[in-house]
């Protein structure tokens, strides 16, 4: 039932317009890059200091001085630039990045997000996530609608430690596309083989159904 990881990524890629500078997080967000149409000029930002990230290099072109924020070797596209971490977060915090796509453990109807720590488990750190949700022009969350045990992840109120408050614009889950509006998740597009009742059942936070609800086009 619902969209798989690649379909979620494909749907999110439609949010990217010509000329956008975009920061993609780890996991499903990384897959979004595979679906950006070639005719758009899009620059991918990597917060360790690169605007204009390209694909992984060929083996003979591996360069230890050229990595992404996940510490993987990558390449730079024509028009790319390198800069310091302070400049990188001036871009992010200063509202110069058009869109960021992140994963989440929980989101809530107030637009808050939790994705960096589970109490009692080892905390690895928030990296750049708190800056990205605080500063990017638009924040889209890519996530599974429920956890491994089938419990809702779109909540009334997050109970895990927060990454940011009132900062999410849109959530794309396996079940559909939701806009955060007036303290509710507004279902604007539903996945092809999913019923509204199923979404209702698996969403804990306040759910509103858009008047002109559409089916996700893939």
């Amino acid at each position: 039932m619902g969209m798989d990881r690649n379909q979620i990524a494909k749907r999110i890629a439609k949010e990217i317009a010509d000329g956008f500078c975009v920061n993609l997080g780890i996991g499903i967000p990384t897959l979004v890059a595979n679906y950006i149409p070639d005719n758009l000029q899009v620059m991918l930002q990597s917060e360790n200091g690169l605007l204009g990230m390209g694909p992984f290099p060929k083996k003979e072109d591996l360069d230890p001085d050229l990595i992404n924020a996940g510490k993987q070797t990558i390449t730079a596209v024509p028009g790319a630039s390198f800069f310091s971490s302070a400049d990188s977060f001036a871009m992010i915090r200063g509202g110069h990045i058009d869109l960021t796509v992140l994963g989440a453990m929980q989101v809530d109807e107030e637009g808050s997000i939790a994705n960096w720590m589970v109490p009692g488990k080892l905390v690895k750190g928030m990296g750049g996530a708190m800056d990205l949700v605080a500063g990017a022009k638009r924040v889209i969350v890519a996530m599974s609608h429920t956890d491994k045990n089938g419990n809702p992840k779109l909540l009334k109120k997050c109970n895990l430690p927060l990454t940011g408050v009132h900062c999410i614009d849109r959530v794309v889950s396996d079940l559909g596309v939701f806009d955060l509006r007036d303290n509710a998740f507004e279902l604007i597009e539903i996945a092809p083989d999913v019923e509204v009742e199923q979404v209702q059942q698996l969403t804990e936070g306040k759910l509103r159904i858009a008047e002109n609800l559409k089916t996700v086009e893939l």
Partner: protein
């Protein structure tokens, strides 16, 4: 006077127990490799280190953990390191987790004479607990303090004998801010050249920030080698 030292061990003269260090690099990229080995060799203990990450078990800042030389880390992400995890759980190590952009800016502020600044990052989260939050023109911001070190240690691609530095690709990362934030800043460079050989237009860290410099080859270990077909 000369800023040029023979090696990392010599450049770290004056390093003592319980000092605060600010160290450049992101993951294993752009870290001052030889200086970190020399800190281990010196055996100083009780160090507080501000650096984005803490290396891996057998390379980068991670090698100072097994020697129990680090008292506290100030980092944004420490996930690649099993020794770190063990010492943290055993209460032998303190960690202050700092959002990456806030860490970069705190170090920048330290070098720029700015004692603290307001940022929107972390408002309403654990990061803001115990800190002043102020509403400015309708939005909340949290007050974050500058970070300075007794020593700041960076890695650059090229440097001249006055301490002017040029970084390479994403090995730049935190290094330019770190270079400004030390009472004594040490630059470990892959290529040391004569004054005048670098084009003033290409210099990324002006030599005024650097007190000590030495040339050293780098292993440049790759954390995750990813290739396309």
């Amino acid at each position: 006077m000369t800023k040029v030292y023979t090696d990392a061990f010599a450049a770290l003269e004056g390093l003592e127990d319980n000092m605060t260090l600010v160290v450049g690099g992101f993951g294993l990229c752009g870290i001052p490799e030889k200086s970190i080995f020399a800190i281990k060799e010196k055996g100083v203990k009780g160090l507080t280190i501000a650096s984005n990450n803490c290396g891996v078990d057998d390379f980068g800042l991670g090698i100072l953990l097994e020697n129990k030389q680090i008292k506290k880390m100030m980092s944004s992400y420490v996930g690649e390191n099993a020794t770190f995890e063990k010492q943290l759980l055993a209460g032998e190590l303190e960690v202050e987790l700092i959002p990456q952009g806030t860490l970069a800016e705190r170090i920048r502020a330290g070098g720029a004479g700015i004692p603290a600044f307001f940022t929107p990052t972390g408002v309403g989260t654990k990061v803001a607990e115990g800190k002043e939050v102020r509403n400015i023109d309708g939005r909340d911001y949290v007050l974050e303090k500058a970070i300075k070190g007794d020593f700041a240690i960076v890695r650059a691609w090229k440097g001249d004998k006055f301490g002017n530095l040029v970084y390479r690709k994403t090995a730049r990362n935190f290094n330019p801010m770190v270079a400004t934030a030390g009472k004594i800043t040490i630059a470990e460079v892959e290529n040391l050249v004569e004054v005048g050989e670098l084009d003033p237009d290409e210099i990324q860290t002006p030599g005024v920030f650097v007190q000590r410099i030495f040339q050293a080859p780098q292993e440049k270990r790759i954390e995750f080698a990813t290739v396309s077909e």
